[in-house]
Symmetry: C2
Subunit: 118 residues, 2 copies
């Protein structure tokens, strides 16, 4: 496995390595959506959505369709939906640990805050 392939795969993982982009990918795995719809569902600002969509576009993970004023996004390959499904499977298998991880991270964030404020 040459390094160029690893770079390619890592690039895809990295593109999915942000909560907002996971949310986008999951919504799109159920069907296409306009940018506005994604913003509303996820609860993010338009510019921010565009930026995250640009990341996904640059890796060719999503494709677009123009309809009048708006742009509809969809997953570029259903395999990505399967990857997300695998991750869901993993998530449920590790639910408890997941919660623990998140708790610890939140706790550490709080501690760091305190240290700054002190």
């Amino acid at each position: 496995m040459p390094d160029s392939m690893r770079q390619f795969k890592a690039g895809i993982f990295q593109a999915l390595g942000h909560p907002t982009r996971v949310a986008i990918a999951e919504y799109l795995s159920y069907g296409e959506m306009s940018v506005g719809q994604l913003c509303e569902k996820i609860g993010i600002e338009q510019a921010n959505a565009s930026q995250h969509l640009a990341v996904l576009r640059n890796k060719h993970l999503v494709e677009t369709r123009k309809e009048g004023n708006q742009i509809f996004y969809r997953l570029g390959d259903p395999i990505l939906g399967e990857v997300l499904a695998k991750m869901r499977e993993y998530f449920f298998a590790h639910m408890a640990e997941a919660m623990e991880t998140l708790r610890l991270e939140k706790q550490q964030a709080k501690k760091a805050e305190q240290e700054v404020g002190r």
Copy 2:
């Protein structure tokens, strides 16, 4: 899907979002390996390997076993191997495009270098 779950998933993708860590995960998907073996196979320095392994450990993606002087790593859950397999599938389906993406990125990197040097 609450945001905490997305954070958890994104954290895992992000952990896999580096070529070296993809390499580590792929080697481990075939069986356990000591740190030294990983270093040799991948061609990285010991300290660097330890840092990347720490990232994977923090997300509980790998587990360890001590044997005398050395520490053997393995994937924490075979589902991860399946995720990697899906990615391999994706990779082969998009081989040509993958090469193009990498070419473009390399090209842009070169351009950025020139601009700095200028």
